[in-house]
């Protein structure tokens, strides 16, 4: 019966997710590279990270944006303090920094950290859930708006409510004016990057585990990758070719099952605190009462790395066709979970681990460039 259903699904809905979660092999083969990485800063609640023109590193954490001028990780300074949680960051060639502000939209900050521009509404709909920002080669700014129902912090609720996708891809000019919706109805678009041809954008769609390629002018979508084993988040071009994708949580069979179980899920959402739901986690909170799976029971005090993950750390580099070339993991027993953002300085990869509240640095092997 299920076989027939699967065949029908493949024929009639070729882009729909298959039931099985793909396994972590090939380019996704597990390793410890994230755990072995050098910690450059403890930054609780870290969300976005980006590289400025002169090599400065900016990272958002809570309401703040922290800056390490010239890429020197020994001394940091507070670049700006905003009035709500700051998420994704992006720098403009002219030296400005764009920052996503939860529930507000995005702001443009000049070199001194002062607000010089805002974008808070597109069409009639406020821009409350900016998940990612990318600056296009022509200087215009592309923004993904995850959902119309929740701000960025409500990502888990948005996933578990299983609504029809309400996310948008918005494009505006460098002064954050003349904003227009390129694409609507996306399921929590969580990351954006300019493809190498500069005419299309790569957008990750978290709740459908897909990577889309969207033509800037027409909004036409093509599915590049359709069944990631994890929820894809921000995406950024890699200095060795292709793109880095940060995956903020893993899919598990239990979560997929609960997502199919509407009655149970609704009851759970009504009566249980979100932190204790059966669902993905960034790993940024600990509770004795969180749900456990049989494979996650500790043996002789050891958490097995291959246990079904509640939180996980995963960054992957994909080629232009969407195939994973390499990946960096922090497995279930690891301590670099909930990767929100990555930044490629050319020789180093800076990874923001929300789950463990830290920034880590990985030296990239130049020889590996494809």
């Amino acid at each position: 019966m299920s076989l027939i259903r699967d065949i029908l699904d493949r024929v009639f809905f070729p882009n729909r997710d298959v039931h099985a979660i793909s396994s972590l092999d090939g380019g996704f083969s597990p390793n410890r590279r994230l755990d072995d990485a050098e910690i450059i800063a403890d930054l609780p609640g870290v969300n976005g990270v980006c590289i400025g023109e002169n090599g400065s590193v900016y990272a958002s954490s809570g309401n703040q944006i922290v800056c390490w001028p010239n890429g020197d990780f020994l001394k940091s300074s507070t670049f700006a303090e905003l009035d709500a949680l700051v998420g994704s960051l992006a720098t403009h060639p002219d030296g400005r920094v764009f920052a996503a502000v939860s529930g507000r939209g995005i702001v443009a900050l000049n070199g001194e950290g002062q607000i010089t521009g805002r974008l808070e509404i597109v069409g009639d709909t406020p821009l409350e859930c900016v998940t990612a920002i990318a600056v296009l080669p022509d200087g215009s700014v592309a923004i993904t708006d995850g959902s119309r129902h929740y701000a960025v912090e409500g990502w888990l609720q948005d996933l578990m409510e299983k609504r029809i996708g309400s996310g948008r891809l918005v494009l505006c000019n460098a002064d954050l004016l003349s904003a227009r919706v390129v694409c609507d109805g996306l399921s929590w678009p969580a990351g954006i990057a300019t493809a190498s041809d500069a005419l299309t954008l790569l957008v990750t769609e978290a709740w459908t585990h897909r990577l889309l390629s969207i033509v800037v002018d027409t909004g036409a979508q093509t599915v590049l990758v359709k069944n990631f084993a994890a929820y894809p988040g921000r995406i950024t071009p890699s200095s060795s070719g292709g793109f880095w994708i940060a995956f903020f949580a893993m899919r598990t069979q239990l979560i997929e099952f609960v997502l199919r179980e509407d009655a149970f899920r609704n009851r759970m959402m009504r009566s249980v605190a979100p932190d204790l739901w059966i669902g993905p986690s960034l790993g940024d909170h600990f509770d004795y009462r969180e749900p456990t799976q049989i494979g996650r029971i500790k043996k002789l005090g050891i958490q097995k790395p291959w246990a079904p993950p509640r939180s996980y750390g995963l960054v992957a580099r994909i080629d232009a066709a969407g195939t994973a070339v390499e990946s960096l993991h922090s497995r279930v027993s690891g301590t670099t979970h909930g990767i929100m953002d990555i930044a490629d300085t050319g020789g180093q990869l800076i990874v923001a681990s929300r789950g463990n509240g830290k920034l880590v640095k990985i030296e990239l092997e130049r020889g590996k460039a494809s």
């Binding site: 099952f257 969180e290 456990t292 049989i294």
Partner: protein
Amino acid sequence: MRRIWYRLSPQMLIGELLEKRWMEPIVPFALMLAMFAAFLLAIPDYASVVQIQLLMRSFPEQAFVAIAMAISILSGGIDLSVGAVFAMANFLALYLFLVQEWSLPLVLAGTLAWGVLIGAVNGGLIAYAKTRPFLTTMVVLIIVRAAYNKATIAYSAQLASGYVENAAWDFIGIGTAGGIPFNMVCLIVIGLATHIYLTRIRSGVHIMAVGSSRKAARHAGINVKWSLFLAYLLSGVLASFAGFLYAARQNSAGTDTGVGWEVNALAAAVVGGISLSGGRGTIARAMIGATIIFLLINGLVQLGTHGSLTTAAIGFILLLAVGFNVKFVKHKSTILQKMYVSPTLVNFKEPPSIERGSGSVFAENDRLLAVEPIGLGKIEGPEDVILDRYDNLYTVNRNGSIIRFLAPDYEVREEFARIGGRPLGLAMDKDENILACVAGMGVYGVRPDRSIFKVTDETARTWYRFKDDSRILLADDLDIAPSGLIYFSDASTRYELTDWALDGFEGRGNGRLLCYDPKTNKTTTVLSGLAFPNGVCVSHDGRCVYWVSTWLCRIYRYWIEGEQKGTLEIMVDNLPGYPDNINRASDGTYWLAFVGIRSPAFDLAMEDPAFRVRMVKQIPPDEWLCPGINYGCVIKFDDNGNVLESLWDPGAENHATITSMREHKGYLYIGGLENNRIGRLKLPDADQNWTSWDSYYAKDLQVASDVKTMEVDHVVDS
């Protein structure tokens, strides 16, 4: 209503049924019943006494031939000659009886001798000359058939005109015993005998073994050739006996007698579910298969169906049944796996808060932070710990041994005794023997001189359950009452220790509280239908037994003395964690370990058995939701059911699970089912001389020494 449905759980019943080996032919058996029911509806008076007698009378010969075929198939070959041998035996019996006018026993002997002869030819060729069974028996079939045709034509006139008056012959043919036709009686008796032969008698079992795997049988020292020879011999004898019965009943030898019977017999064996590759199947299955084929042919004939149509129908049903049966046998274990776990409905209330600073007695704190490790990395899964009077520390290891750490610094580790199984709860009796509940084995003891003795490993079987629960499957924790009775829990009768999480996932009352009486050496079931009973502890006054239901998060009190003796009451309900072992504390209260902390999501799942059933079916076991046992803590409660305090290891960094703790001379020793260490915590406010053993036996010791002193005084006086 819902509650009753899940409690009785037809699913569990079916699951346990499917586990039974005798359930394997369930498909052919159901088909047989369906066939009978169908003809019952289609043919008037089908179930009348006369009709049934008629059916019973014409069935046995075919069944014998089917059994003959089955035996050859079970031995790993095939005997296609059974139909021809049957026909020839029929002719021979008639010839010897009517033409030669031999006496009846001689006729029977002659006919059976024919079976022995042809069986020996088949068996000799196949077993000793190593010819192929299929070809060999087919050649024999052709030859015997040809001989039969020649013989019947040659003697047809004599047979037709021959007549001998013989009551015994008539009785064999048309007599009944208690309303059952004589040949049917023969079938029942010989069928049973053959079954016993193949399953209980050495040479019969050897035939089955050879059928299963000739190579393995040879390696096991079985005389393969002789076994094969015997199988064909038996097959020939059974077929010829059928011929004898047929002769007595029909008194004729037609040209079509026995034609195609080998095909029917083969069909019967296959429909009955006997594996053509040999070794798998029973006589009962052959009988079921034969019944199906017989009923089908007979019924269709009675309905007036055309002969070719009958054959086609048989072929079609055969195909269907065989196809289904093959699938069923192949997937039975999968079906069983998906059906066996049968969750039940458990309604939880919101538990007391464990939030740090919430003011609740269960609130998280740092009191176990100061725990020092003993045997770190030198012990695997110390589920329970116990200390002797010389302060030596004993614990259990997951490899089945009792490990001892020597006082005073517990640096020296030695294997005290190896019991096997998975030792869990420990207790120490008056003679300082260590008693251990051993999962998978029962209750065992170790004397101070390290010798091991069995206490008990079985109780009475529950008469209404399919599953044999007489063995103690998961002995978990025990304690000794002042009377010497040993109370212990069998946590689950459905799951072994490795599958404990499944038992929790079920939430069903699979466990029981047992009591062993050393005086009578008998074990009795005190309470049954308990959801993972655990933590058995006799109260300080010795009047009641405290135990916990781990999955229902309750502490129970069972009175063993006094006016309330035999009554059970819930003492503490709705604990925020999953309780495990209980042990006495020095201040007259009790320590209780929480093996895990309840999760609201899991509690919610416990209220929804259908959700859990689907989970079991749709996702692999490692991904199933389970009780959260990665974090534990220790609590203390008193005889009135008040929880007094809790001791937490924040984040469970050191002690992931806590399943036991034992107080001894001002220290609390902590064990855990999946831990790699034992913890030791100083209890500054506790009685620094108190030991558990004294708390149980010091009074007796006092009395004993008093008696001794009195005796001494007496001696002095006189």
